[in-house]
C-alpha cells in the first residue's frame, strides 16, 4: 500500500531533481468541469491528461479543471495554452484523443486542428 511515508521520499527526490519552475513558464491544460462537461465525460478526459503527462514525466505542465466554460453541445472542452501562444480550444474530447494532443501539441507544439473548435463549427 502507498503510504504518506512515500510522499516524504518523493519530496526529497523531486527537490533534488528539478528546479521548481513557476506555472507561467509552462503549459496549461484547462478542462471544463461544469455540470454539462461532467455529464459529457470531462472527468475521464482530465484523468487521461494527467496519466499521459505523468507517464511522459512532463515537468512543466499544469492540468487544472474549471467550473465554468459552458458550451454544452461541445463538451467536454479542453483549453491548451502554450507559453506565448494563443489558447487552443479542443471540443468533444474523449480519453482516446488525449495521447495525440499531448504528443503533437504539448510536446511538439503543433495543435491537433481536427479536434479544435474551428473544425467542429
Amino acid at each position: 500500500m502507498k503510504s504518506l511515508a512515500d510522499l516524504e521520499a518523493i519530496r526529497k527526490k523531486t527537490l533534488d531533481q528539478v528546479t521548481l519552475r513557476k506555472d507561467e513558464d509552462g503549459v496549461r491544460i484547462i478542462v471544463g468541469m461544469a455540470t454539462c462537461g461532467i455529464a459529457a465525460g470531462a472527468r475521464p478526459v482530465m484523468n487521461a491528461f494527467m496519466e499521459e503527462v505523468a507517464k511522459r514525466n512532463l515537468e512543466h505542465v499544469a492540468i487544472t479543471q474549471t467550473g465554468c466554460i459552458g458550451m454544452c453541445r461541445l463538451e467536454p472542452i479542453v483549453e491548451v495554452i502554450l507559453p506565448d501562444k494563443e489558447k487552443v480550444t479542443y471540443v468533444k474530447m474523449s480519453p482516446e484523443k488525449v495521447a495525440k494532443v499531448v504528443a503533437e501539441h504539448i510536446v511538439n507544439g503543433n495543435p491537433v486542428t481536427e479536434y479544435t473548435i474551428g473544425a467542429a463549427e
Partner: protein
C-alpha cells in the same frame, strides 16, 4: 450522470465556486442499513434562506428570470428515484452543508463509480483548498487530508508527475481496500 462520483464532483464545484477554503466530503456505504449517503460541507460564502428554497425547487419558483442551475436538481432526482432524498442547509457568510441519501440496493441507484478520479482531479486542480475525504464501506474506512499531505510536501506541488502518480495510486489502493482489496498485495 452515470455515477454518483460525478454528482459529487459537480456538487463540490459549487463549494469551490463559493470560495471555500475547506471542503469536507464523507461517503458512507452501509449495506446493512441498505443506504449510501454522502455529505459535503464547506466554509464558502453560503446562501440566504430564499436561495436555498429556490435552488432546491427551481421549477416551482415562478417568474424569477434568474438562471437556475441543474446540478442540485439532478442530484435530488437521482436520490429520490432510489427512495432517498437530499438536504441542503446554508448560512450566509459561514458555509453550506449538502447531503444526499440513496437506497443502497435500489435498482435505480447509480454506481458510486470512480471516486479516485473525482478526488485526484480536485486535489491537483485546487491546491490552495483543503480537502478532507472520508469513505466508509461497512466497517472499513479511510480518510485523506490534503493538509496533512501538504505538510509533508512543502513546496512540492501535487501536479508534479511523481506526486500525481503517487496520489492516484494511493486513492485507487485505498478505494479497492474498502471493498476487500483485490489489489495485488492485499492482506485483508
Amino acid at each position: 450522470m452515470k455515477e454518483l462520483s460525478l454528482h459529487i464532483l459537480d456538487i463540490m464545484q459549487n463549494s469551490i465556486a463559493a470560495n471555500a477554503s475547506l471542503v469536507q466530503l464523507t461517503v458512507v456505504e452501509d449495506p446493512e442499513a441498505d443506504t449510501l449517503s454522502f455529505t459535503i460541507e464547506d466554509n464558502g460564502k453560503g446562501m440566504p434562506p430564499e436561495m436555498v428554497t429556490q435552488v432546491m425547487n427551481p421549477f416551482v419558483t415562478g417568474r424569477t428570470t434568474r438562471r437556475v442551475g441543474l446540478g442540485i436538481p439532478l442530484l435530488k432526482a437521482a436520490a429520490e428515484q432510489t427512495g432517498g432524498n437530499i438536504n441542503l442547509s446554508s448560512t450566509l457568510g459561514e458555509g453550506t452543508v449538502i447531503s444526499a441519501l440513496f437506497g443502497y440496493s435500489h435498482i435505480d441507484r447509480q454506481p458510486l463509480g470512480d471516486m479516485a478520479g473525482t478526488m485526484l482531479g480536485l486535489i491537483t486542480s485546487y491546491e490552495d483548498i483543503d480537502f478532507v475525504y472520508r469513505h466508509r464501506v461497512g466497517k472499513e474506512e479511510y480518510t485523506l487530508s490534503t493538509k496533512e499531505m501538504r505538510e509533508i510536501l512543502g513546496d512540492v506541488s501535487f501536479s508534479q508527475p511523481e506526486v500525481m502518480l503517487w496520489l492516484s495510486e494511493f486513492l485507487k489502493e485505498n478505494e479497492a481496500a474498502l471493498y476487500g482489496g483485490n489489489d495485488t498485495e492485499s492482506n485483508h
